[in-house]
């Protein structure tokens, strides 16, 4: 385990160790109508963090269920209530025949939500770094993410223009902007991810329609020939044709997913690879094959257990993340002093309410 070559990051949790947490979380969430989930998240993270090693010591999660809960309540009051009233108003407008104004209102609220999704992403990262300790030192950010919200909005919109060609560039630019605002201890993160290495894989998305068309022609010919050979039955009537149709659909979906994962593998590799903290640099070595295995494993786990396995997904993803994460360089423990960034009192309420991921 402790050879020189070994990764700076390691994970030593186990299914068996995590299962009591996962199942009691599920039980308590059911009997509290879901309210316990804030404490459940905290318990899960405490387990995952404490079984993640960086160099010579474990990470520590210090977030609490209470702060997550308060954050959620705050968002319900600040965002949820106005939106509920707005929805009511829009319904009334439609009934009175002012569908245009209702549409405009709807569009305006869409933009507001869009803006807050950006802020939520930023703050989730800030919250997670602020609650993560290593050697008694934590991370954080003094930026509240208000300007990131704007960047998120315009970069995403510009990215979607020009037939989505600028999406990878916008994604990486936002990643860099987010991480450049973060720090750990006294050191600021520096993020210089480059979208270009992943771009070729992204272009595969544009080839997909051609591939589908080609396959479709071959498929149609095949079915046509097949049905003639079967005795010229009604078109689409043969069970083999139907089966092939299903396979064709699944194949297209799988191909789409494969392209997405292969793009994402390179994208994350480049994004993490562009990240540094003082004298430390980072790397992420998961290949497309690893991502596909993770994804297929997720599906098998959830389907094979009729959904209950979903409570282990967080565990799987964290383990994947930590085991593929790598760091190089030295740390000067004397100079790694405590972070003086402000700690927010509330958790990931926004993120929680808007249901978006943090990374």
């Amino acid at each position: 385990m402790e050879e020189q070559q070994h990764s700076a990051f390691g994970f030593d949790g186990s299914w068996k160790g995590y299962a009591p947490i996962a199942f009691t979380n599920l039980l308590l969430m059911i009997v509290t109508l879901g309210i316990y989930r804030f404490w459940a998240t905290t318990r899960t993270r405490r387990y995952l963090w404490s079984h993640s090693r960086f160099i010579d010591d474990r990470l520590e999660w210090t977030g609490t269920g209470k702060e997550l809960f308060l954050g959620f309540l705050m968002v319900i009051l600040i965002l949820g209530l106005p939106f509920f009233i707005l929805q009511f108003g829009a319904r009334a407008l439609v009934m009175r025949g002012h569908a245009g104004i209702a549409g405009l209102l709807g569009f305006a609220s869409f933009l507001v939500i869009f803006y807050f999704v950006g802020i939520a992403r930023f703050r989730a990262l800030r919250y997670r770094l602020g609650r993560t300790y290593w050697h008694g030192i934590r991370g954080g950010s003094d930026d509240a993410g208000w300007s990131y919200g704007w960047s998120y909005m315009w970069k995403t919109i510009v990215g979607m223009m020009a037939i989505y060609l600028l999406v990878p560039r916008a994604m990486m630019s936002l990643w860099n902007e987010r991480w450049n605002a973060m720090s750990f201890g006294p050191h600021a993160f520096e993020s210089k991810g480059d979208y270009r290495p992943a771009f070729k894989r992204y272009l595969m998305f544009y080839l997909l329609p051609l591939i589908i068309l080609g396959c479709g022609i071959v498929f149609a010919m095949f079915v046509g020939v097949g049905s003639i050979m079967m005795g010229g039955g009604a078109p689409g009537g043969s069970p083999i044709g139907a089966l092939l149709g299903v396979l064709f659909g699944v194949g297209i979906y799988g191909l789409f997913l494969f392209i997405g994962l292969s793009f994402y593998a390179i994208f994350i590799r480049e994004a993490v690879g562009g990240l540094s903290l003082a004298t430390l640099t980072f790397a992420f070595d998961a290949s497309t094959k690893d991502w596909v295995k993770l994804f297929l494993g997720d599906i098998a786990l959830v389907i094979g257990t009729l959904g209950i396995g979903a409570i282990f997904l967080q565990y799987r993803h964290w383990k994947f993340f930590i085991t593929h994460l790598e760091a190089y360089g030295d740390i000067d423990l004397d100079r790694l002093t405590q972070s003086d960034t402000k700690l927010s009192k509330h958790g990931e309420g926004l993120l929680d309410a808007l249901d978006v991921g943090a990374f």
């Binding site: 039980l27 879901g34 079984h51 010579d56 010591d57 439609v94 009934m95 100079r335 405590q338 700690l343």
Partner: protein
Amino acid sequence: MPLTERIEAHPWHYDGRNANRWTPLLVGDVETFTLKGEGWDAGPYCWADLIALDAPAGEHVFGLKDEQGWRLGFPGALPEDLAALLPKPARYGGFIDRIGLGRASAVLAMAAAAVVFVGVKAPGWIAPLVPQSWEDTMGDAMAGDFGGRICHTKEGTPALRALVRQLDPHGTARSIEVANIGMVNAVALPGRRIVLFRGLVEQAESPDEVAGVLGHELGHVRHRDTLTAMMRQLGLSVVLGGMDGSTGSQVNAVLGLSFSRDAEHQADLAAIDAMRASGISPVPTAAFFARMGGEEAPAKAKGKAKSTTQPGRSIEALDWFASHPSSTSRQQLFANAAEKGRRYRPALAADQWQALQKICSADKAVKPGFDFGF
């Protein structure tokens, strides 16, 4: 235990100011302790200010109140005198640790059931206390004039009034109108307003069928079901729906169903009462339900209107919030309500009925309809 008992240990320590891992000597008594490193001293700290944290097996780690990053770790098993002074780590959090997981789950499940029960019942208790004038104001604000989609004709409007007079002689509803919307549907809006949709009036085969539906909606108005349903929707979506997407909304949907069924049944009984009082037969309404029941009884509705709306489905949502009892049981309820030997008369004369059916098609001024997601 003497107060002067001396305690010594060799923990590891992070001071929270930089990342160095110290290995000081801990010296203390039953109240406080100090840490003595090479060339530094820290403390005294109170044992009572320590907070137990998660630790890997075989280790015990503690934080200090209000000191971020301050950690004290004891490798190996704790000596008994030390263990007695140190706090125990929390497992599930709060009171669950104090009373145990099993008992806490039972208590919480009962509390959840109580919350759900109150959440279901409370709107029914509160709705009658809301001043009617408030509800009327809100209803008008919400619906307005339906964007000019209310149908009026010189013959059709009096025919509608004639029908209303029989079913609602005391004027429970503030307004009863036909809207230029093609769905087979009717709604009781907040503020004692009832809107019949054009599709309903056109697809009904007799005025008695319209009378049945109208009586049903009047039942909702009388019981203030719309206000109750709206309050319940608001309450549940905040309390449950907001808490957790999946569990909450499922609970919400199930409750919506069971609540509505009772209200719907009451509204059906009210319709039957109103029809009995005015001598209108409930049998055609039963036939109407049978016709609209979709798969159970194939629709015989006239071809052209049928294709645009799906009678089988729209009857399921006969009004705004409703998930209705099955058509078959409602059909039986109305069919059984017919009194043997009683002579019924049609709710409207033939010319009135024709005028009512044409109230929208003959209205040149009415705005074209649309389907909104009722």
